[in-house]
Symmetry: C3
Subunit: 273 residues, 3 copies
């Protein structure tokens, strides 16, 4: 039941350490507060492992990675693994440049991730080295459609089996898979793609859900995806004439702020395959 | 009279150099513009001291400190001291990691701060080494309540006497103290704690008030705290059904934008002890 | 016709690489999405040139330059020049510190910019070494007024001739000039100056317009300036009592999101001199 996943997060909170990009970091912090979690950002090598140690989860996002923050990602990731904390990877722009792709590979080699969330191009790059990317957005050629759904589900399950991570591929249709089960989620609005950082926000949110639901990681990850998509629907319905992507961004975070487990349960649109 | 403190800021402006975290920096810049001040951000060692020299005040915030920006904090702080500019410290997360705590201590050793603003856990850490922190938020065990108010006032005055700085401890009840006088402020809303960066914004605002009111620093610092809390009340009253922390964030800055000295005077809730 | 300039951008998109400051970067990303473009941010020396290679344009903004990002600006700029991509410079705070001024000079020496956009103080600094700055805002003494308009147009044309760049000087009156022609634009609202980053947003928007209109660069740059100013007018008309600069910021991006070529054509206020 997705309801319990959100209820646990609201009840227990979740302190999430984010090593993330500076583009969307403010929205990431606010969405974590909105969902009942707490954010902390620390990306210096002398700060990150110690901050990780006091948190319940770590979300690594390579959106503006650099030579100072990359070592911090490894150090914090290893510390989090040692302590049994939840760790999530958002491989922003993997496939768009060598350093992004190589860093994502190396992170996956040296750190166990409880979940990896990206668009289809990024996840394909990690799994096969063959994704294409249009900057940080998924290539249209890669899109998950009704036609490619079956094979993408198999792909997600296989990659989950190989990595031991929950694999979340988000786009028009969202998939959240472990090796044997895949949530196919149809919440959300296409206009969310015209806001910077909805993916980054979802990754942080997913990390918070994982922290608060250690026994049910797959359902927790799926609940986060449903919550974000549902927030996009609720916020869209609240837009007024003349509103655009900036106001929509705020209203999505507002919708998370006002959401509870019962609303999530009722609004979630998914099937399990 | 708090009115004059805001009137001076509106009349004279205040150019504030911020070496601050990348999480909340945009809101910090907008709140400075909202109050009648002007922001400038510069954190490279080759840039920061020169930028400080053309400003009236410097706000140092260690929220995402790193090995490049820490030396800039020292260099800019010393330059600001030399020039007699106002300098404020926001020790974000002091107590949460060694580098944050040690950097805050060392900054206090080498730089004179006109004001230090933090939550009770951070300020206790600076004063006694004994604060506990829940990431960047105050620990509940540390909270300033009616029961602990008297002793916290004494603590704030003693720490102000020791440092020669105005000490601002903000939370459910806010305290702004010098060695002999303490403003006890009851403006604000608990929901402000669910927005990232209201503390960072307040620190920048306080620095602007200090710059514009060099003769009345304690009252200026208290006026900033009242203004931020009052803005939280005004903004809260303007929220509509379905609004959450993202919209609330914007409306708080909007409330500062529309506030004047007379409104502050009328809405401020404080006593002096 | 400005209409075609925006129509082309909406039809073709424009992937813009931004090496920019962390203060206003989120708004920059959202305004690029709002106008039909796509943003990507990358500022590490190992990432920036490769990211530039997959984009159509590069916008360099020195607002929070540092010793890690400065070499990336040069490397990405040279790569973009090699590939014939559009490159824009926003010399934030040139004149306010030596490193800002010197970096801007050196960038102009080593990289060809299709356009340079700044306030009058910044552009004067680049052209003559004699601008004065009030932090990152233009000095009042430098303001472009009806009295100084004629000579400022000549100045802009001369600087455009010298640099081979389109020169955009924005303020109360905006000028967009090449060596022989100058758009004098009277869109916009003074209240836009009380929002952080409207200049940064405009620079990114201008880069997107240039990418989508390679044959008509001057008109494309002017169209971006008109669009931003018109968005400021539309958003201002949508403000409600109690709204301030934070809400205004969102509504400006919203107005770009909802704008099309026909609306731009109708609302643009300019003459060509």
């Amino acid at each position: 039941m997705l309801k319990e996943r959100f209820d646990h997060l609201r009840a227990d909170g979740a302190l999430v350490h984010n090593i993330t990009n500076y583009v969307t970091v403010n929205d990431v912090a606010n969405v974590l507060l909105a969902c009942g979690g707490s954010p902390i950002m620390a990306d210096d090598i002398d700060d990150a492992p110690e901050i990780t140690a006091i948190c319940g989860g770590l979300a690594i996002n390579i959106g503006t990675l650099n030579k100072n923050t990359i070592p911090s990602m490894f150090a914090a990731g290893k510390k989090a693994n040692e302590l049994g904390h939840k760790v999530l990877l958002d491989p922003v722009g993997a496939g768009a440049s060598t350093i992004r792709t190589q860093t994502a590979y190396k992170l996956m080699d040296e750190i166990h991730f409880d979940a990896i969330r990206g668009n289809i191009s990024e996840i394909k790059t990690l799994a096969t080295g063959e994704g294409t990317t249009k900057g940080v957005d998924a290539d249209v050629a890669d899109a998950v459609t009704e036609e490619t759904l079956e094979q993408t589900i198999e792909f997600a399950k296989a990659f989950a089996a190989k990595t031991g991570s929950i694999i979340a591929i988000t786009g028009a249709i969202d998939l959240v898979a472990d090796e044997s089960k895949c949530y196919v989620i149809r919440n959300g609005r296409p206009e969310m793609g015209l806001i910077t950082g909805t993916g980054c926000q979802l990754s942080a949110l997913m990390c918070a859900f994982l922290v608060a639901n250690p026994e049910e990681p797959l359902e927790a990850a799926a609940a986060a995806v449903c919550a974000m998509g549902l927030a996009g629907e609720i916020a869209y319905a609240r837009l007024e004439e003349g509103d655009g992507n900036a106001t929509y961004r705020n209203k999505i975070i507002d919708a998370i702020y006002n959401m509870d487990g019962a609303q999530l349960e009722e609004g979630a649109k998914y099937e399990i395959r």
